[in-house]
Amino acid sequence: MPGIDECLLEAMRLPGARGAALVDWTSGLALGTVGEAPGEDHETSAAEAAELARLAAEHGAFAAADDPGGERPPVEDLIVSNRDSYHLLRFVATPFDSTVFLHLWLAREDGNLALARIRLGEMAGRLVLE
C-alpha cells in the first residue's frame, strides 16, 4: 500500500520526470514534494498550480456532464506545455472529501506525455484505494 512519498517517487521514475508534488487546490498546500520545483520553490509552485487547478475544477465548462453534483472531481487532468517542459495535473478522487491533485513536471525532450498521463492516473487511484 503506497503512501504519499512512495507515490511521488514512483511518478519520478517516469521518463523525463523533473519534479512531482501532491497539492491541495483549495488551500494551495503541498502535502508532499519530490525532485525539483518548477518555479521559485515547491511552496510557490504548489500555490500557483493550485490556482490553475481550482479554475479548471470550478468552471462548469470543463466539467463532465454525468456528475453535476460534484462528488467526484469534475476534471480528470490538466496539461500545460511550454517550450521546454510539460506539466501534468491529475485530480485525485478520494472516498472522503478532499480537493487534491498530483502535479508532475516533465522535461519536454525525454518526457512521454501519453504514458505519463496513463501512469499518473493509475497512481492517483492506488494512492487512495487498496
Binding site: 494551495g28 462548469g60 494512492l127
Partner: protein
C-alpha cells in the same frame, strides 16, 4: 589644518538571520522554543491543542476543525461503528489508526492525506490569536507509527499563508465564526457545486465550522468557500454569539499586531 575626528564606531548590526527567525516564529514564541528544545508533550492553547513529539507536531485538535473521525465517517469511507470499535481500543487515536491500516480498512495514502489535512486544519485554528497564554505539559506521547510528523516551522508558515489567503479573498474575518445569513443579490453570480453545498446550509444559525463538520470537510476549506461567497455578496455574518469560534486576525490591523506581540511576549516569559 583641522584634523578630522576619527569616524565613530559602526553601529551594532542586528543578526539578520536570527531576527528573521524570531519574526518567523511570531505566531507563538513558546512553540518555537519547544521546537528548538525538541520537546515532547501537549501544548494547550485557547482554540486547540498541539501534540509534539521531539519538537515536531504529530497531532492537532481544535473544536473548530473536524477530526479524522468526522472526515472519514461523514461520507461513509469508514463505518462509524468500525471507527468507534477501533478508537475504543486501549491506547490513543493513533493506535486506532494503525489498527484500521493493518486491517486493510484504509489505504495508507488515504490515511496520510486525511491526517495531514486534519493536522494543518486544526493547527490553523490552534495558532489563531488567543486571549490567554498557552500551557505546555511535558509528557510521554505515543509515536504515531506510520503517520508523518510535521515540523513546527512548516505548520506556522502554512498558517500564516492561510491567513493571507483568506484576507485576499475577502478581508472581513467576521464570516469565519459568526452564524451566517443568506443574502439574495439581484443578479446572483453562479455558484460552484462545492460552494452550493455550503450555501444550502446557511440558515442564520450555523457557523462556517459547523457547516464544515456536517459536510465532513476541512474547516479552513469551508472558510475559503464562505469568504468567496461573502465576496460575491451571497452570505453575510449575523450577530455573533458568545460561543463563536475565533475569527482570523485582521492581518493589517496594527493594534491587533501589537496585542499579539504583547501576548506572545507574556507567553514567552
Amino acid at each position: 589644518m583641522v584634523a578630522t575626528p576619527p569616524p565613530p564606531p559602526p553601529l551594532p548590526v542586528r543578526d539578520g538571520a536570527l531576527a528573521g527567525e524570531r519574526a518567523h516564529g511570531a505566531l507563538s514564541p513558546m512553540l518555537t522554543r519547544l521546537a528548538e528544545e525538541r520537546a515532547t508533550g501537549v501544548l494547550v492553547r485557547e482554540h486547540g491543542t498541539l501534540v509534539l513529539h521531539e519538537g515536531r507536531v504529530i497531532h492537532a485538535e481544535s473544536p473548530c476543525a473536524p477530526g479524522l473521525d468526522v472526515l472519514l465517517t461523514a461520507r461513509g469511507t469508514l463505518d462509524e461503528a468500525v471507527w468507534r470499535q477501533a478508537a475504543d481500543r486501549p491506547g490513543d487515536p493513533p493506535g486506532a489508526v494503525r489498527l484500521l491500516l493493518d486491517a486493510g480498512l484504509l489505504a495508507a495514502g488515504a490515511l496520510e492525506l486525511c491526517h495531514l489535512g486534519a493536522l494543518y486544519d486544526a493547527g490553523y485554528f490552534t495558532l489563531a490569536p488567543s486571549g490567554a497564554p498557552g500551557r505546555f505539559r511535558y509528557e510521554a506521547v505515543a509515536r504515531p507509527g506510520p503517520l508523518r510528523p510535521v515540523p513546527v516551522k512548516a505548520l506556522e508558515r502554512e498558517t500564516l499563508r492561510r491567513r493571507r489567503l483568506l484576507h485576499r479573498l475577502w478581508p472581513d474575518p467576521a464570516v469565519d465564526g459568526a452564524p451566517l445569513i443568506r443574502a439574495d443579490p439581484l443578479a446572483a453570480p453562479p455558484v460552484t457545486p462545492r460552494r452550493r453545498a455550503v450555501l444550502d446550509r446557511v440558515d442564520g444559525v450555523r457557523t462556517a465550522p459547523q457547516i464544515a463538520r456536517e459536510l465532513g470537510r476541512h474547516a479552513f476549506h469551508t472558510l475559503v468557500d464562505v469568504r468567496r461567497l461573502a465576496a460575491a455578496g451571497l452570505v453575510s455574518p449575523g450577530p455573533s454569539t458568545a460561543a463563536a469560534p475565533p475569527s482570523a486576525p485582521e492581518v493589517t490591523d496594527p493594534e491587533i499586531a501589537l496585542l499579539k506581540r504583547l501576548r506572545d511576549a507574556l507567553e514567552a516569559l
